[in-house]
Symmetry: C2
């Protein structure tokens, strides 16, 4: 009954002068890309700007000039990036972020981050950073940025670890609907303008993709009592949503990570000291990115 909820994430932007748009690539290409990581496509929704896929392990979003893929469990996401690079030699990569959270069950992963770096370095001359406490919560990043472009997408992440037993119990129910989940998390109103697609996993687990024009929000719930995990990732500012979610989930600790957040106050976020204790905070400026990271603990 253990499952590695923490996602590996790869986000790639192609240069303006690229031959093809990513949305021109056939569905079969994305199927193969997802398959190369050891996952599969479960469902899809489309709007004028974006294609959103729910995967057997997390999510994939594709726009004209970029895509982001998140895969949890025992997947090998570096292989999906390798598949992209080797099968689309005419596309120029303007920006890459390959990111991996330290895992609960790292010995069960098909590759270490070091091995991922070795694989990706055959194709991409990126830089390698770590934010956080190496013995506890931390993120490893491989970042690449082509100096000729300024295309590094924004990203906002809330990652919650050890949600309350009450919340965990809620997500273990068999008969809950998408509406029940959003209601329980207090997200119904905030996602009002979004088109939604979700999947309940057996025996437990829940994934939701939400798109609205170019905006996406993706929510993944790993409710297992041992090492429960909830992630909310978006290209929009989810600070308000995050506060709501935290009040409902009451996790033992959580990460807030932003890339190129426009909200300057997010550079050094402040939280209510009486409720949360700051474990760690860092800001990283490199490769056309402003990355902020905090890890907070409930008191």
């Amino acid at each position: 009954m253990q499952f590695e909820g923490a996602e590996k994430k790869a986000e790639i932007v192609i240069a303006n002068d690229s031959f093809n748009l990513l949305t021109d690539l056939q569905q079969g290409f994305w199927q193969q890309l997802v398959d190369s990581a050891g996952a599969s496509i479960l469902s899809r929704m489309v709007n004028a700007d974006c294609r959103a896929y729910i995967l057997s392990e997390s999510s994939l979003f594709v726009w004209r000039d970029r895509f982001i893929i998140l895969t949890c469990g025992e997947t090998n996401l570096a292989k999906a990036v390798e598949f992209f690079v080797t099968n689309q030699p005419l596309l120029t990569i303007a920006s890459l972020t390959f990111q991996r959270k330290n895992e609960y069950f790292s010995e069960q992963q098909p590759s270490s981050f070091k091995q991922d770096i070795e694989r990706l370095s055959r194709y991409i001359d990126g830089k390698h950073y770590i934010v956080g406490d190496l013995a506890q919560h931390h993120h490893q990043l491989l970042s690449y940025h082509d100096d000729r472009t300024h295309q590094t997408p924004q990203r906002y992440e809330l990652l919650a670890f050890g949600i309350s037993h009450q919340a965990s119990d809620f997500f273990h129910q068999n008969n809950i609907t998408q509406g029940d989940v959003l209601g329980y998390l207090g997200l119904t109103e905030a996602l009002g303008g979004y088109t939604l697609d979700s999947h309940h996993f057996s025996p437990c687990g829940f994934s939701l993709n939400a798109i609205n024009g170019e905006q996406y929000i993706t929510l993944h719930i790993t409710p297992q009592h041992a090492h429960s995990y909830v992630s909310l990732v978006s290209n929009s500012d989810i600070a308000k949503l995050s506060n709501t979610l935290l009040s409902r989930l009451n996790p033992l600790c959580f990460d807030v990570l932003t890339i190129n957040s426009l909200d300057k106050s997010q550079q050094l976020p402040t939280f209510n000291d009486s409720v949360t204790k700051l474990n760690h905070q860092s800001v990283l400026i490199a490769e056309n990115r402003l990355l902020t990271y905090v890890n907070l603990k409930q008191q």
Copy 2:
């Protein structure tokens, strides 16, 4: 003719309630501590606040409640920290910073940082961070802070890599004096109020300790043409001195690292874009420390 200039650094503050002052400890204790790292004491100077030692590999400064030791070359500084902890069981450690720059010749080091962490973790429950690009310039830190105290010293570091051949040639001369070195580097006036102690190494290399009350400045020059290195470390703001030094040394790239700098503008230092290019910049807030780090490249 290769020498590892980059220093390992350990800074320890003892709690107010400790039984002894560090300045009460006998000279023989510090000799043994330095010896346990694989270095030796070459000379000493003392004022009312501080004892300053020039070592065969860098420097040691001791105050009533704290000491900092820097050792370069192929020393094992973690062993010196272990010696301190095991031989002074009555002293309570309020704060520890153990820090190591990535080395040019890492395979020749007697220990890896991972091994250092393993050794120190037997005694100190610290946190482990990395700032910088893992494939290039970066610093690894083990930080510990006792929540009951607020004693984390300030530190300012300038580390310059690949100084100009002209500067390198200057420091290879046999007959230069301490005054010549300070004159060449433009430091004579800035060090006017300080008591100085220096050592010329054979065949090349120069170390200088400067103290003024509780303030210290330590300068170490590894002028070897391959992998030349100059470091300036202090508990005072050395921003102005650093600019002077950089203009004289014209290094290929340099690090500026501060710990608990009072100058808020140092949190995100700005440099002249036409002269230097920012490779990397990060801010880390953890363990009662505000650490800023930038790596800049001459254009």
